[in-house]
Structure formats: structure tokens, C-alpha cells
Symmetry: C2
Subunit: 202 residues, 2 copies
């Protein structure tokens, strides 16, 4: 197989994840990844800047899809509905990646530096979504709060999606998590307002 | 002044933050911090493990207060109300620290490593709050979603609190942000349900 065939990236990613799972992320070298994939180190570096990049390769695509989903929601959509459209759009490419995602999350969970990188990815996604919402005319703090709520739903929907035995799709689990968030956030509204604590003017 | 007087820690923290603001975090040494505070390096290291520790010294206290607020809420309180009690409790010590908090945030915002540390602090706070909620009998995913919503409110309330010219208290701004989150999250519920999309069974 020539080194330019379209699935070179995927072969490298698969080999890397196998090795990270088998012997640990720190203990794996790029040379070993290339060897496992039947390719050269040079080919690896033509596709990825370093061994960490393999795990975060989808960050840009995720952000682009999420932001496009939010910005393409109908102008009349409430901020939370625009955000939900972003979640739906972002879930798309994950459909056939559950096994990969499970392995990836196990590798990330075992390494402090990778966990940090994952948190930064979500914080930057949140900032991009908030900016997109502001672009739709949503004022602050509503834009940032909606974006952060979206990240909570994304993160927890994702955790549920990769749980053992889970078969629902990521999109379903995120919709369900958003519904659950609505329920927990709104649960006591009646009680609070009934207790005479007036809503703030914000 | 003897080195054992009670405000040694505060003097060191004040000197550190001044220097981080004036010349940058990376460029400041522990020797310089000690000198500015009129103390020795040895005294610095008796109080802080390193120069980063000065900026994250309150993390443990913040977590303890937040968790205590959540766990001490009446047993009948809804999860979101328990979380709101945690936010109120956590806001307590910040009352007279707004200037410090503003300086601290500017230093953190200017340094990638410190921003990562701050994200980790919030993620670990979220995990502690979720665990406390589960201890109160709140099932998953409601516990994690409530905790994440709490972090969103904390983070955005905090950002508003340190904004130029802001005079409301942190507790007020967090309550206002929680109210705002309720509004954005619930805004379209009627519209959605009216559109015939049934709520998920979760």
C-alpha cells in the first residue's frame, strides 16, 4: 500500500491508540506508532505534529460543526435551541466512532497532561459558541451561560455515550441530557417563587 | 516584624501578586517575592510550595465551603437549591478580595499554564460537588449536570464580579447568573413542547 492512500491518517491514529492503550501514552514513541501502522516516522510527521496531536485531531472539526450548527439555526430560535442545533451538528461524525472514543477517553483519563488538554479544548469550544451566540444578538451573560450549559450537556452526554453497554446515539444522549438539565435547573422554580423570593431583574 | 506574625502569608501573597502584575509571572522569582515582602526565601517556602501555589492557595477552602454548603442544605432541598446553597457558601470569603481577585485573574489570563491550572481547579470542584450531590441521593446524570451548571454559574458570576466598575457582591451576581441560566435554559420549553416534541423519559 502506498503512503498516500486516503486512510493513512486513520491507520496512524488506530495504531497510536492501540499502543497507548497497551503500554501507556508516555511509553509510546512515534517510531513505534509508525512501525505498527507499517509506515515511516516521516509519514507520521506529515500527518501529525506529535503523538498528542493524534488524540486531539478532531478538535477543529468538532468546533467548526458546533459553531456552524449554532449559526445556521433559524434567526427566530431561542439561544438554547441554537445551542441544541450545535450539539446535534457536533454529534454527527461520532456515529461510527464509539470504540475509538472509548479507547481515547481511557488513554486521556490516565494522563494528567492529556486531561488538561481536553479541558482546554472544551473551554475553547465554549468560548467559540458564546461568540457565535453573541453574533446572533444574544447579550451577555446569557451567551456565555448558554454556551457553558451546552458544554455541560456535551460533556455529560459524551460520558454516557461511551459508558459500557450504552447503545443510544450521542445525539440522543445529548438531547436527553439537555432535557435533564432543564429539569434539574427548573425543578424548584415554582417552590422558590412561591416562597416569596422575587426573581432578580437580570 | 517577626516572621511568625499571622499575616505573613498575606504579605507574601500581596508581594507575589504585585510582582506578577508588574513584571510577569514567569519573570518573577521566589527570592524577589520574599524580598518585596521583607522576608526570607525560607519563610516563603514555609508557607507555599512554589510561586504558583500563591495563586491557588484558596482552592481547598473554596472546595470545602462549596461542598459544606451543598451537604448542609435541608434534606428536602432540590438538587439545584443545594447547589445554590453551595454557591452562597463559597462566595463568603470573597467579600473583601475583589482587588486581589482582579489582579489574580489578569495574571492567570496571561499565562497558559496558569489557565490550565484554573480549569483543573474548576473541574475538580465540579467533581466534588457532583459527589456530594450523589451522597444526598441525587442520581446520575442529574448530579453531574447540576454540578456543571453550578460551575457555569460560578465562573460567569465570578467574571462579572471582577469586571471594571462592578459593585454587586459575588453572591448577588451568582444568584443573578443562576436566575439567568434558568431563563435561557427554560426559555423555549413551552415552544418545544407546543411543537409536539415529547420530553424524553429520562
Amino acid at each position: 500500500m502506498g503512503r498516500w492512500e486516503p486512510n493513512t491518517r486513520q491507520r496512524l491514529a488506530k495504531a497510536a491508540l492501540e499502543l497507548y492503550s497497551e503500554r501507556g501514552y508516555e511509553q509510546t514513541t512515534v517510531a513505534e506508532i509508525a512501525r505498527r501502522a507499517g509506515l515511516t516516522e516521516r509519514t507520521f510527521f506529515r500527518h501529525y505534529a506529535d503523538k498528542r496531536e493524534v488524540l486531539f485531531d478532531g478538535s477543529g472539526e468538532l468546533r467548526d460543526l458546533f459553531v456552524a450548527g449554532v449559526s445556521q439555526a433559524p434567526g427566530s430560535a431561542a439561544p438554547i435551541d441554537a445551542m441544541a442545533a450545535g450539539l446535534d451538528a457536533a454529534a454527527g461524525p461520532f456515529t461510527d466512532r464509539r470504540t475509538f472514543a472509548r479507547q481515547r477517553q481511557a488513554v486521556i483519563g490516565a494522563n494528567a497532561e492529556l486531561r488538561e488538554r481536553e479541558l482546554i479544548k472544551l473551554a475553547s469550544l465554549s468560548a467559540a459558541v458564546a461568540e457565535t451566540l453573541r453574533g446572533r444578538g444574544v447579550p451577555e451573560p446569557a451567551a456565555s451561560l448558554t454556551a457553558e450549559a451546552g458544554m455541560a450537556v456535551f460533556r455529560i452526554g459524551f460520558e454516557r455515550w461511551i459508558a459500557d453497554g450504552e447503545e443510544r446515539t450521542l445525539a440522543e444522549l445529548m438531547r436527553d441530557s439537555l432535557h435533564e438539565l432543564r429539569t434539574v435547573i427548573g425543578a424548584d422554580r415554582a417552590a422558590r417563587e412561591g416562597a416569596g423570593s422575587p426573581p432578580s431583574p437580570g
